[in-house]
């Protein structure tokens, strides 16, 4: 493991929905440049963790610090400004617009947060940035296709590309390969991880697919009933008894819905 | 749900609707285009706005339209009794455009502009709502369009500004209420306190103000209630208001309600014994007399906004008997106030056309009608106020009584007050005239 000071510091994080405990006293440090895989059965609290880090859900108790700055209590967009971005399990994009327009909006917002209402969106500067993003995420061919006509995989790629244009220092990916066919998934992850490596982004991703986890991750966090039951390198984790019983075992029972 | 059940229900409804449609088709539904007379003579178009939709249509708008259609038709055919038995409007045959008056003053303004500028009507004769008249008077002036208001009552129209093209052929609301107050004084001299329920707009506000001010002058010992009710027009339910008035110490209830609101109020008040305990004064009650039959309580002081409808049923002038009989033949009921008022306004248009010569301008028509006196169906009309644009007529009241023998309502103790007694002289505003002790009133 790399011994940089932690870029993300989570302390005593608790989230309760009535009687259901979705996060039970989570403590974890993430260092700069790490690629972390978050695994766990459905309902183990993975997405809830991502939601809390990005400000979508307020925690019941605890603290989340990003580069020493407290995130709890900040709105989603403030956290984006701070430098944390995310993708979604079900891609959250603008479905009635083209890929190009989607990215243009993302770029425009990233470029100019005060948003000057009087300036046109379509500027040469943004266009060149757009071409750059399209290249890196191999979306050139689909630039003028409306999202609703895109294949699932391309949508997910777009979803991630939109999260990245704001140049985050931490990126959380929520099940990046769900809905992507077995044949395509490695190509897909190669594109994504390649682009992210270039920028030196710290990545946390939630994943069901242990092959993907084994291949791309330097560290695994295994969730079970709102707790981290294992925090170790992927090889070790996949061999771990507890992980096998509570995470992988469960996974095999209810694969795919 | 069971499909059979649905089918049965559907069949039931279809049957019911068919039954309704066939059993009571209202006779006036038929669109009779007013007699396209064969002669090649001149043609004019008269627009007649009235309430054709909404709560005011049945009691007010439709009888009014009927009155107008009947008189236009008779004039076209030259069938009015003398001295109006010449054919046509200055010889021209009139076709009548029916128009809905509902939807608010602003919509009426837009429609009026259309009438004048798009459909090029020659004259506009009608309007029931004071709100509409008030909004349209300045527009008519702006467009220089000869217009006769038939029924609307607010005195403000000719008191606010001098008019060149706008006329009103019946007296305004002040007359209704000064006459009502005088009638109360004569017939109920012991009245100690009075309250009222009025619709919340110019008509209701003006009516109450005039009635209240007059009583303060002529019966200074009577006391006005603090809780006069002003529900919204077309509210329909007056339970709480009736309770409040029942608890009030006043022994008289004045209302300028009209149309559907009036009928609902009479119903609800009668069921609650309101009119048994207190004397009701209904200034526009005349329209209810023929329609409600036995449901109209006895002993109500009833007005018809002038010498019209049930108040003049016994006047046996040729013109009046022609009006009553023709109307009854055509529409199956006695003519109520609005029918008379619209008929009278149409008659005024004929007189203006007859006098103004062929193909007259709006100026010529206005000149012809300004300041004249004419004999209408039920009364004499003098265009003497507002520089000769506002009519004055006598006004009267009676007391309701159900005639068991003939199974209809009649009025007893009818008394008429001459115009000079109940209306201010020209140039004097209603309010200042009443407040000043009604100077110059000749009763």
């Amino acid at each position: 493991m790399i011994s940089n000071p932690p870029i993300l510091q989570v302390r005593d994080l608790v989230k309760k929905f009535g009687a259901v405990v979705a996060a039970n006293d989570i403590n974890v440090d993430i260092s700069k440049g790490e690629i972390v895989g978050i695994i766990g059965a459905n309902g183990a609290g993975k997405t809830c963790f991502v939601n809390m880090v990005t400000g979508y859900l307020p925690p019941t108790a605890g603290s989340i610090k990003f580069e020493g700055e407290e995130l709890v209590g900040l709105e989603t967009r403030k956290i984006t400004h701070a430098g944390i971005s995310r993708s979604f399990q079900v891609s959250q994009v603008f479905h009635s617009m083209t890929v190009g327009e989607n990215l243009m909006i993302a770029l425009a917002i990233a470029n100019n947060r005060a948003l000057d209402a009087l300036s046109l969106m379509d500027t040469p500067e943004l266009r060149s940035k757009l071409d750059n993003v399209l290249n890196r995420y191999k979306l050139n061919a689909q630039k003028d296709t409306t999202v609703s006509a895109l294949a699932q995989g391309v949508r997910k790629l777009l979803d991630i590309a939109m999260a990245v244009v704001s140049k985050p220092r931490i990126l959380l990916l929520d099940e990046p390969t769900s809905g992507i066919s077995v044949e395509e998934k490695f190509d897909f992850m190669d594109i994504v991880m390649g682009a992210l490596k270039e920028d030196g982004v710290t990545v946390l991703f939630v994943e069901h697919d242990m092959e993907i986890v084994a291949r791309y991750v330097s560290r695994v966090l295994a969730f079970y009933q709102g707790e981290i039951i294992a925090d170790m390198p992927p090889k070790k984790a996949l061999a771990d008894k507890k992980v096998q019983e509570f995470v992988i075992g469960k996974e095999h029972h209810k694969k795919k819905k | 749900m069971n499909k059979g059940l649905v089918a049965v229900l559907a069949a039931l409804v279809v049957g019911a609707v068919a039954f309704m449609l066939t059993s009571e088709k209202p006779s006036e539904e038929k669109k009779e285009a007013t007699a396209p007379v064969a002669d090649e003579g001149e043609q004019i178009t008269i627009a007649v706005p009235s309430f054709l939709t909404g709560g005011a249509a049945g009691p007010f708008g439709i009888p009014a339209m009927n009155g107008a259609k009947m008189v236009v038709d008779a004039i076209n055919k030259g069938k009015l009794p003398a001295p109006y038995n010449t054919k046509g409007f200055g010889g021209a045959t009139a076709s009548l455009i029916e128009l809905d008056e509902g939807g608010g003053a602003t919509k009426q303004v837009a429609e009026y502009r259309n009438l004048v500028e798009k459909r090029n009507v020659d004259a506009v004769v009608g309007y029931i709502s004071s709100g509409n008249c008030q909004a349209l008077a300045p527009i008519a002036e702006e467009l220089k369009q000869f217009t006769i208001f038939a029924t609307c009552g607010t005195p403000r129209i000719f008191e606010e500004a001098p008019r060149q093209y706008v006329f009103r052929t019946m007296s305004h609301a002040t007359a209704d209420n000064t006459a009502a107050a005088m009638y109360v004084k004569e017939n109920f001299p012991g009245m100690k306190g009075y309250t009222g329920i009025q619709q919340n707009y110019a008509w209701g506000q003006d009516s109450w103000r005039d009635f209240d001010l007059t009583l303060k002058q002529i019966m200074p010992n009577s006391k006005a209630s603090d809780n006069v009710q002003f529900p919204k027009i077309f509210a329909g339910q007056y339970g709480s208001e009736i309770s409040a008035m029942s608890l009030d110490s006043a022994d008289l209830v004045h209302s300028s309600f009209w149309g559907g609101d009036l009928e609902a109020f009479i119903f609800q008040g009668a069921a609650r014994g309101l009119f048994a305990k207190k004397t009701g004064v209904l200034t526009v009650g005349g329209t209810a007399a023929y329609r409600l039959g036995k449901k109209l309580p006895n002993g109500i002081v009833l007005g018809a906004r002038g010498p019209y409808g049930i108040l003049v049923r016994d006047r046996d002038s040729v013109l009046n008997q022609w009006f009553i009989n023709t109307y009854k033949n055509l529409y199956g009921t006695y003519p109520s106030g609005p029918a008379y008022q619209y008929g009278q306004a149409i008659l005024a248009a004929k007189i203006a056309y007859d006098k103004a010569g062929s193909d007259p301008s709006s100026e010529q028509l206005a000149g012809a009608l300004r300041g004249i006196t004419f004999e209408s169906f039920s009364t004499k009309v003098e265009m003497s106020l507002g520089g000769g644009h506002q009519a004055v007529t006598e006004n009267g009241y009676g007391i309701t009584k159900y005639d068991e023998v003939n199974g209809e309502n009649i009025v007893t103790d009818v008394k008429f007050y001459p115009a000079s007694c109940i209306m201010p002289p020209d140039g004097v505003g209603s309010v200042e005239w009443i407040k000043g002790g009604m100077k110059g009133a000749k009763c």
């Binding site: 009087l118 046109l120 | 500028e117 919340n200 919204k232």
Partner: protein, 313 residues
Amino acid sequence: MFNDKTSKFLLVAGLLLILGGAFAPNWIVNQFMFGFSRALAILGLMVLWRTGLVSFGHAFYFGLGAYAVAILDIKLGVTDVFLRLIAGALVAGTAGFLVGFIMRNYRNIFFAMLNTAISMVLFGIVVKTEALGSTDGFAISMSTILGVSPETKYPLFVIITLVGMVAAILVNYYLKTTFGKLTTAIRDNEIRVEYLGFSVAHAIHLKYSISAILAGGAGALMAMSLGQVDPESMINWTVSGELVFITILSGPGNVIAPFIGSLVFEVLRTYAFELAPQAWQLIMGATFLTIIFFIPGGIWSVLEKIGGKKNDK
């Protein structure tokens, strides 16, 4: 900046209409005045609609604009057409900005209904207050233009057309800015917009205020062209319904659409009223249902189909 096809079309069409208006009969000029006045409000509703929001209560702002003109006229004797217009837009805009703090938190049907509720409060107050003209409303004196009182309505028509043209060109430009582009983005996916780092609430607040200003201006122009205001025709919920009707009728495709839609509505109503004084509501309602069911893109989509891909006629 304004050299796109839509702006050019607006410029040319506006000038042609102004020329044509000089020779047209009065009633046609009237229809254009009413139509274009209303179109201003539709323009604002269109911006909201593109954001996925439909307000069933914009008669609130329309009425505020109209009544601002009336009150200024009666209490202060203000007759200048520009002062009246600015007052109407300003009053409505201020109200819209304040109400926006509530509205920006609501979406869908709740947004629609809360707007209705607000408009009904104003309706109730106006109807019940004699000083505000109660049910009768007010007549409004003829507008003067920089101190000159015109003989005919034509100058007012010219001003309304110019105001409509300028507003349409500005809105068209606005829709091309980042802010404007956010309309569809917000409709499609608010969560993403927030995660991109932009406040949906602020964006909606701005759009809502713009729509209020436009509706207020529309009310002011309508009051001036009609010469009358009353609560039934300016503030009641049925007026809000009409405004939404025209918005749907026009279609969201282009800023020209509201002007065409409003004109069609004006003509439709005039003729429905003329042909069937007792059943004109039925005609309007049936048209409404037909549009919702069969032409969801409104008149604009039909024009586009006829004219192929190019969006001019």
